[in-house]
C-alpha cells in the first residue's frame, strides 16, 4: 500500500483527478449518494485549495482508499451540513480540531462482501492511521467525523480511541452520529 498526502496542488500529476473519479465510484455509483460531479469527479464545496488529502494506492497505482481532512476553523461538513449532530453542544471550531470526511477504503480490484466490512480491512485501518498522523502533523489534536453508528464498533475494535459526541440522529432510517477520534492516543 502506497500512501500519498497533501493538498490537491501538491499531489502527483493526475492523482487528484483519480481521487475524484474514485470518490464518484464509491459514493455515487456504489453507495448511491446524490452528490455532484465535475467531469466525472465527485467534488464539493469543501474540496478547496487548502484541503488536505490522504490517498492510498495499490501496487499497480490504482487508488484503493482516500480521506479528506479539514480544519474546523474553516468551513467543514459537520459545521455546515450536519450541525444538528452536536445536539446543541458547541460546534467544533479550532485549528487543532480537524474533520475527517470522504473516507473510503474500497478496493475495486478485490471482491468483498460489503463496503462496511472493507473498513476493517488492513488498507482501511492503515489509511485511517495515516490520516490521523497527517492531521496531527498539521496541528490536529483531535478529529471529528460524521459516521453511521456501526463505525464506532469498528473503530474501537481496530484499537482507535473514539467516542460519540452526542446521540445519533436517524437519517434515512439509519443512526448517524458525530464521532470524536483522539489523536494523541492513536499517534503512530
Amino acid at each position: 500500500m502506497n500512501v500519498t498526502s497533501g493538498k490537491a496542488s501538491s499531489l502527483p500529476h493526475n492523482l487528484f483527478s483519480a481521487v475524484g473519479n474514485y470518490r464518484s465510484k464509491v459514493f455515487i455509483e456504489t453507495l448511491g449518494w446524490d452528490l455532484k460531479t465535475r467531469n466525472g469527479e465527485e467534488l464539493d464545496q469543501f474540496d478547496r485549495a487548502d484541503t488536505l488529502y490522504v490517498v492510498s494506492q495499490d501496487s499497480f497505482g490504482q487508488v484503493n482508499g482516500c480521506a479528506r481532512l479539514l480544519p474546523t476553523d474553516r468551513p467543514y461538513l459537520l459545521g455546515e451540513v450536519f450541525p444538528e449532530l452536536m445536539q446543541g453542544l458547541p460546534i467544533p471550531c479550532s485549528p487543532d480540531i480537524w474533520e475527517l470526511s470522504r473516507f473510503a477504503a474500497v478496493d475495486f480490484n478485490k471482491q468483498t462482501s460489503s463496503a462496511l466490512s472493507q473498513f476493517s480491512s488492513e488498507v482501511a485501518v492503515n489509511l485511517l492511521r495515516e490520516s490521523i498522523a497527517f492531521a496531527a502533523a498539521n496541528g490536529a489534536k483531535r478529529l471529528i467525523t460524521v459516521s453511521p453508528i456501526g463505525i464506532e464498533r469498528l473503530l474501537r475494535r481496530a484499537g482507535f480511541h473514539c467516542h460519540r459526541a452526542a446521540r445519533p440522529l436517524i437519517i434515512d432510517g439509519h443512526p448517524i452520529f458525530a464521532c470524536w477520534i483522539e489523536v494523541d492516543a492513536n499517534q503512530v
Binding site: 453507495l31 459545521g79 450541525p83 460489503s114 473498513f119 453508528i149 446521540r167
Partner: protein, 161 residues
C-alpha cells in the same frame, strides 16, 4: 448500512454556520456536565443510577458478522440498540446484541461493551477511568429489561421485509 464515513449531504441547514467554541462548556443541572476538552459527559455512579434510559432505535446488522467467510451462510442474527438518558446534558449509549433461541423463546443478549459519551467520576469529582466507566455502564445496561423494548421495535421495523 454499507458505508463508513458518509458525507451524504442533505440541503444545507440555514443555521449551519459554525460558531466559536467556548473554552469551557458545562451544562446541566440533573447530574452531569460536558467538558469542553473531551466532549464527554461526566457522571458519578449515583448520577448514572438515577437516570432512566429511553429507547431510541434498534436494528439488525445488515452486513452480517464481519468475519464470516464469503461462502458461509450467516445463521447468527446480530444488531445494535441505541438509548438516551432522561437528563440534561443527554447521555447517549448503545451496544451490540445477538439473538438467541432458548426454550422456544427469542432473546437478545448484549455482546459488546456499551459505547457512550460518558466518563464516570467519583462523588468527589476524580476521574474513574475508562475501565470503571465501562463497568458501570455495563451494569446499568444489564440492570434493566432493554431486551423487550428492543425486540418489539425490531419486530415492527422489519415485519415487512
Amino acid at each position: 448500512m454499507p458505508n463508513f464515513f458518509p458525507d451524504k449531504q442533505p440541503a444545507a441547514s440555514p443555521d449551519a454556520a459554525p460558531g466559536l467554541a467556548p473554552s469551557t462548556f458545562a451544562a446541566g443541572t440533573e447530574g452531569g456536565s460536558v467538558t469542553a476538552a473531551t466532549g464527554l459527559l461526566g457522571l458519578s455512579p449515583s448520577d448514572l443510577h438515577g437516570l432512566c434510559l429511553i429507547h431510541l432505535i434498534s436494528g439488525v446488522d445488515e452486513d452480517g458478522p464481519d468475519d464470516i467467510a464469503d461462502y458461509a451462510v450467516p445463521t447468527l442474527i446480530t444488531g445494535y440498540t441505541e438509548w438516551i438518558g432522561d437528563g440534561e446534558p443527554e447521555l447517549t449509549i448503545g451496544w451490540d446484541w445477538k439473538m438467541t433461541f432458548e426454550s422456544s423463546c427469542v432473546r437478545l443478549v448484549r455482546v459488546s461493551e456499551p459505547s457512550s459519551n460518558v466518563a464516570m467520576h467519583s462523588d468527589d469529582g476524580s476521574d474513574l477511568g475508562p475501565a470503571a466507566t465501562a463497568h458501570h455502564l455495563a451494569n446499568k445496561v444489564d440492570g434493566f429489561n432493554w431486551q423487550e423494548e428492543a425486540l418489539q421495535y425490531i419486530n415492527i421495523r422489519y415485519q415487512n421485509q
